[in-house]
Every structure is written in structure tokens, then in C-alpha cells.
């Protein structure tokens, strides 16, 4: 592990890699500050900019874009009661009352410092836990890899409380992933004679449609993203008061950050859920719970520390197992694979310098975000005043180029539109988009796991049930279905109500 860290440090400290950290932080914060444009969206529209970069350079940039977008989402949440990302839903509940009391700068200071430190906390856990998990995952063979993907889908379904919908989305994702030439025999499947489909559908095209184009269709519902009443008033000193507010509450910070990292590492549980869980934790542990909702620092600290810690936690299964548990990690894995890297345990073995440099860049990026944005907060806040009628057409053009640039194909742009429409309906009727995306990204790994697993068992499907590790994975799969069901039955529907409060959006 130490060797990997040193290799990564050597890479991340190269000037052309190092510069990507602040660049990613600024870009991510700006995009995240536009309501509706979450971390996954920020990464998706930035992917075309990374085509010319080296893999680690691109990933350092994209990881910091995603991480800081989560903080960016708190800006409109605090200033105008509109969550910028699903992960900043609970931030509104006390952030906006603080703005109304004239404490906007203080709330932004809390949000910035809590986000940065929460992300740092999660990044340390990521750095410590990922190598042992990855080395354990190296023991997985084809049947286990197939079951890991299945576990990812059941976890997403359980976490969102929509198991049938998750399975349905998962099946469709698996089917879409089979379009193109068969990876083993090269026989074309479901291509309908269209030459452009022979190479299959590139999952980044699907991601751009599902997260990017569909988001534009949603944004049309807003006439103006923000109102001018949200003009930011406050001084640098006020921001520092917010920083002190976090320092004064170390126990609450540690509690919510740990919860965020642990839950974030579970596929399907994104910041959209954890920020509300954290808010409820803060309420239940407070001596003055009645004050929540009136504009108190704890109400901003808890969700903000959590959402960044959650994103760091979500990177653990993404890097070690190749399972994108959240929208942000799905988009990030898209960027990773676009640069020829294969997520999963082999990444730690084959390209340790890349994976460690990305983890270290995320670790450096979080405290840097605090320093950087404390100094340019006022300018960043102004960005959210851009109306949607200007924003949408410009973003659409970027999305089109993003989809086109992958294979320089206009056919792909057409596919992207189809996925955008599908994503719009899936999100409208609460089908977990991640469950669709996961098999798309892992398509070849899942199929290889299934077919080579069968070959390994000489055609006997019992190989998926009789190996010690597969038995353990089946237990986890069944537990991931049964336990949330039992909990829901026992504790009523409070959990799902809590998720509904998050706006019904996917956990990006």
C-alpha cells in the first residue's frame, strides 16, 4: 500500500496533474451551484474536455469536479431554498432560514468547511480501506464477478425501496449491454443490420443521455433557476464564523461523516438519502431539537459533512469492485473506462499509480476546496444568477459534443437522445437509473462472468451456488432483499417517506 501511495504521490505532484485539482474544484462548484445539475451531471459534461488528457490527469480533474459539485449544490440550497443537488436537500431546511436571518455567509462558511472536512474524512477512509478490499476481491473468479454485479443491483433496489423497478431497470441495462458483437464469438446481436451498432452502445453515450439530456428536459420545468432576491450579502469574516461553527461541533461532525462514508460505500445509497439521514441524526442527538428548521448551524453542518463523505465512500466499491453505487461514481467510471482503464481489483494491481493518484488528489482536493472557495465564494455565488433559458441551450450543445466525441459518430448523438427520453421517464416514475447504468458499465464483465463461469463449471449452473465465495455472496444478496423489507415492515413507512422528502431523484 505504501508503495502505491508513493507512486500516486509522485504522479499527483506533477505540475500538470496538480493543476487539475483546483481547476476541477472551481468547475465542479460552479456546475453544482446550478440547481438540478448534480455531481454526475458535472462529470458527464466535463468528460469531452478530458479526451486529450492522460488517464490520471483526466480522473484527477473529474473526481474533483464531482466532489466539489456536491458542495456547489449547497449554494442555491442556502441562498434560495432550492437544492442544487439531491444531496443538499436537507441543507435547505436550516440554510435558507439562516439566509433569511441575514446569516447567508455564515451558512455558506459552515457548508464549505463541513463539506471539505467531510470529504477529507471520507477520502482517508477510502485510502485506508480500498487496498485491502481490492486485494481480497482479487480472489474473485468469473462466477463471483457475476454475483457481485447482481448484488449491486439488489442493493440499489433495496436502498431506493423499489426492488422490482430496480430489477426491471437492471434487466433492461443487461439487455442493452448485449447489443453489438458477441465478445467471444463476434456474432452480431440485436444490431438490426445497423453498422453503427456492431461495436455496441458505448455506455458513456447512455450516461450522457440518462444524466445529461434528461436533466435538460427536467430543467425546462423551471422558468428561472434562481431569483434575484438571493443576492449574497456577507463578508469574509462571516464565512469564518461558519468555519468556527463546525470546529466547535467535532462530535456531530464525526458521527455524520462516519455514517455518510459507511452508507456511501453501499451501492444505491447516495447523498440524496444520507443527507436526510444525517439531518435526522443531528435532530435526534440535539438537546434542542425544536430549533431545527429555524436556521441553526447544526442543520447545515450535518447534511453538508455527510454528502461529501458519502461521495468518498461511494468511491470504495467503484474503485475496488467496479460497482458504481451512485450517479457520480457511474459517471466517474465512465470517464475511467473511456481512458482505457478497467475498474475493479485489477486496477490496483495493474495501474496502482493511477488509482492512488486519484485517491490522493481527492484527499488533497477537499481541504484545498475550503481554502480556494473561501477566497472566491462571492464570485461563485453570482454564477447561480444565470437563468435557465441561457443555460439550457449552451449545455445542450456541450452534451451533443460530449456524445459525438466518444466515437465521432452522429448516430451516437441520436442514441443519446433516446437514452435521455428513457431517463426522463425512468426518473419521473421513480425507476432507479443506477440499476440501469450498473449493468451497462459492467456489461462485458457480467457476461464474461456468466459465460466463463458456466464454462468453468462444464455447463453446470450449480457453480454459481456451490463455491464458498458464491455462497457468501448469495447470502448477501438475499440479506440485501430481506433485511430492508423486514425493517420497512417493522418500522412502517418512515424510511420511504424520508426518501420521498429527498425529491424522488436518483442518488447522484
Amino acid at each position: 500500500m505504501m508503495e502505491g501511495i508513493l507512486l500516486g504521490l509522485d504522479r499527483v505532484l506533477q505540475p500538470d496533474n496538480l493543476i487539475m485539482i483546483p481547476l476541477g474544484l472551481i468547475v465542479g462548484t460552479i456546475i453544482g451551484a446550478f440547481p438540478g445539475m448534480g455531481a454526475s451531471f458535472a462529470i458527464i459534461i466535463m468528460i469531452p474536455l478530458t479526451y486529450w488528457m492522460r488517464p490520471e490527469q483526466a480522473l484527477i480533474f473529474l473526481t474533483n469536479v464531482g466532489g466539489s459539485a456536491e458542495f456547489g449544490g449547497s449554494i442555491p440550497a442556502i441562498l434560495m431554498h432550492v437544492p442544487g443537488t439531491p444531496g443538499s436537500t436537507a441543507t435547505c431546511w436550516d440554510g435558507y432560514p439562516m439566509t433569511k436571518k441575514g446569516e447567508a455567509a455564515r451558512a455558506l462558511g459552515i457548508s464549505l468547511f463541513a463539506s471539505g472536512m467531510g470529504g477529507l474524512f471520507g477520502a482517508i477512509i477510502l485510502l485506508l480501506l480500498s487496498p485491502p478490499i481490492a486485494s481480497f476481491a482479487l480472489k474473485f473468479s468469473y462466477p463471483e464477478m457475476f454475483l457481485i454485479a447482481l448484488l449491486g443491483i439488489t442493493l440499489i433496489g433495496s436502498a431506493t425501496g423499489k426492488l422490482v423497478k430496480a430489477f426491471l431497470a437492471g434487466c433492461l441495462g443487461l439487455l442493452v449491454a448485449t447489443i453489438g458483437s458477441d465478445p467471444i464469438s463476434a456474432v452480431p446481436r440485436f444490431t438490426f443490420g445497423i453498422v453503427d451498432l456492431y461495436d455496441g452502445i458505448h455506455f458513456v453515450v447512455a450516461l450522457i443521455g440518462l444524466f445529461g439530456f434528461s436533466e435538460m428536459l427536467f430543467l425546462l420545468k423551471r422558468k428561472h433557476i434562481v431569483s434575484s432576491e438571493s443576492a449574497f450579502k456577507g463578508t469574509f469574516k462571516d464565512l469564518l464564523v461558519g468555519v468556527k461553527d463546525v470546529i466547535k461541533r467535532p462530535l456531530l461532525f464525526l458521527r455524520v461523516s462516519s455514517m455518510g462514508t459507511v452508507l456511501g460505500a453501499t451501492p444505491g445509497i447516495g447523498p440524496a438519502i444520507t443527507n436526510i439521514v444525517a439531518y435526522n441524526m443531528a435532530v435526534s442527538s440535539s438537546k434542542e431539537p425544536h430549533k431545527f428548521g429555524t436556521g441553526i448551524p447544526e442543520g447545515v453542518l450535518a447534511p453538508e459533512a455527510t454528502n461529501n463523505a458519502t461521495q468518498a465512500g461511494a468511491l470504495i466499491p467503484a474503485f475496488t469492485l467496479g460497482i458504481p453505487g451512485s450517479g457520480m461514481t457511474a459517471a466517474l467510471l465512465g470517464g475511467l473506462m473511456l481512458h482505457g482503464l478497467v475498474p475493479g481489483p485489477m486496477l490496483f494491481k495493474n495501474q496502482p499509480e493511477v488509482v492512488y493518484s486519484v485517491m490522493l488528489a481527492f484527499l488533497i482536493g477537499n481541504p484545498l476546496m475550503i481554502l480556494l472557495l473561501l477566497s472566491i465564494q462571492k464570485q461563485v455565488v453570482k454564477i447561480v444568477l444565470v437563468p435557465s433559458k441561457i443555460l439550457i441551450p449552451v449545455t445542450l450543445l456541450l452534451i451533443i459534443i460530449g456524445a459525438y466525441g466518444i466515437k465521432n459518430s452522429w448516430f451516437d448523438v441520436g442514441l443519446m437522445i433516446l437514452f435521455g427520453i428513457l431517463g426522463y421517464y425512468m426518473r419521473t416514475y421513480e425507476y432507479p437509473v443506477q440499476a440501469f447504468v450498473l449493468p451497462l458499465i459492467l456489461g462485458s464483465i457480467i457476461e464474461e462472468g456468466f459465460r466463463k463461469g458456466l464454462m468453468l463449471g462444464h455447463g453446470d449452473p450449480m457453480i454459481f451456488f456451490t463455491r464458498p465465495l458464491t455462497i457468501a455472496l448469495w447470502i448477501l444478496i438475499i440479506a440485501s432483499i430481506v433485511i430492508p423489507y423486514v425493517i420497512r415492515k417493522k418500522y412502517g413507512k418512515s424510511e420511504s417517506k424520508m426518501m420521498d422528502k429527498s425529491g424522488g431523484k436518483d442518488a447522484s
Partner: protein, 165 residues
């Protein structure tokens, strides 16, 4: 009935896949057939669940069985804007090779600005042209994505190269 949109789309997709998978050889066809079989089971459960929900909502009086009025839907400003974005993007794809990137992008942005309500007489054309030019410079010339080139793009490329040299 809107609840049934997504499972019906999925069902159609699975039926098409089933028909297409008939001719696949055993090796390449086994895996998709297993997914299709699983998909059928899940989509059936999903449809039953949605129909049950509709029935229970009906009983509770929360669900009013209305005829879908396409006329009403097409008059909805949100639907008009969404349709405009989708159709204009499709037209963009068809025309971009013929017109070159800058001209079609300028028109695309201009029309979308206009439809979405940004109609400032001087800012509208200026921002439309500036946006497509900047995007062309960044992605076409700097990142080197081979964006479709016609006379305008070629002229700009020559100009930029001339300035650099």
C-alpha cells in the same frame, strides 16, 4: 395509466429482443435469452404491481380515469419546449455534416434561446454566434474533436493557424 409507460416500454423492448434472439447461435444467444426470461418475469410482476396500485387508488378515489387528451398535452408549454429540444436536436444531427458545425450550432442555439424565452434583440444573435464559435475553438481546434467542417470552419482554422505561425 401513465404509471404503465415505463413497464410497457420495457415489455416492448423485451419482446423485440426475444424475436431477434431466435436466430442467435447457442453460444452468443444463451446469455441474452436468460436475461429475456428474467426480464419477462420481472416486467410481469411490475405490471401486476402497477395495475394493483391503480386499482387501489381508484378505490380510494385518488385516481380519476381520464381519457388522455393529446390536444391538451400538445398545448402544454413544457411539452412544447421538450418536444422542440428533442426535434431540434434531431434536425441538428441530420444537418450538421452538410452545413458545418458553426452555422448549424449558431442556428440551434439561437432557436433554443428564442423558444425558451431569451429574446433580447442584440444579445440573442451575439451570444448565439459567440457560443458556437467558442465551442468550436475549444473542442474543434484545441481538443481536436473532428467536428464537421465546411468553408467557415476551414477559414477559421486557416486564420488561427496563420495567427499562430
Amino acid at each position: 395509466m401513465k404509471r404503465l409507460i415505463v413497464p410497457v416500454i420495457f415489455l416492448l423492448f423485451i419482446i423485440i429482443a426475444l424475436l431477434e434472439s431466435k436466430d442467435l447461435p447457442p453460444g452468443a444467444g444463451l446469455y441474452p435469452k436468460v436475461i429475456i426470461a428474467g426480464g419477462f418475469v420481472v416486467v410481469t410482476i411490475a405490471l401486476i404491481k402497477e395495475i394493483k396500485t391503480i386499482r387501489s387508488e381508484k378505490k380510494a378515489g385518488q385516481y380519476a380515469l381520464k381519457r388522455i387528451s393529446y390536444e391538451k398535452i400538445l398545448k402544454d408549454p413544457l411539452v412544447i419546449k421538450q418536444l422542440f429540444i428533442i426535434i431540434s436536436t434531431l434536425i441538428y444531427i441530420f444537418l450538421v455534416e452538410k452545413t458545418g458545425f458553426i452555422i448549424i450550432s449558431t442556428i440551434y442555439i439561437f432557436l433554443n434561446f428564442y423558444i425558451l424565452g431569451f429574446r433580447h434583440k442584440t444579445h440573442l444573435p451575439f451570444i448565439s454566434i459567440a457560443t458556437s464559435l467558442i465551442i468550436y475553438l475549444v473542442f474543434g481546434l484545441f481538443i481536436k474533436i473532428p467536428l464537421p467542417m465546411q468553408f467557415l470552419e476551414e477559414w477559421i482554422s486557416k486564420l488561427i493557424r496563420g495567427l499562430i505561425i
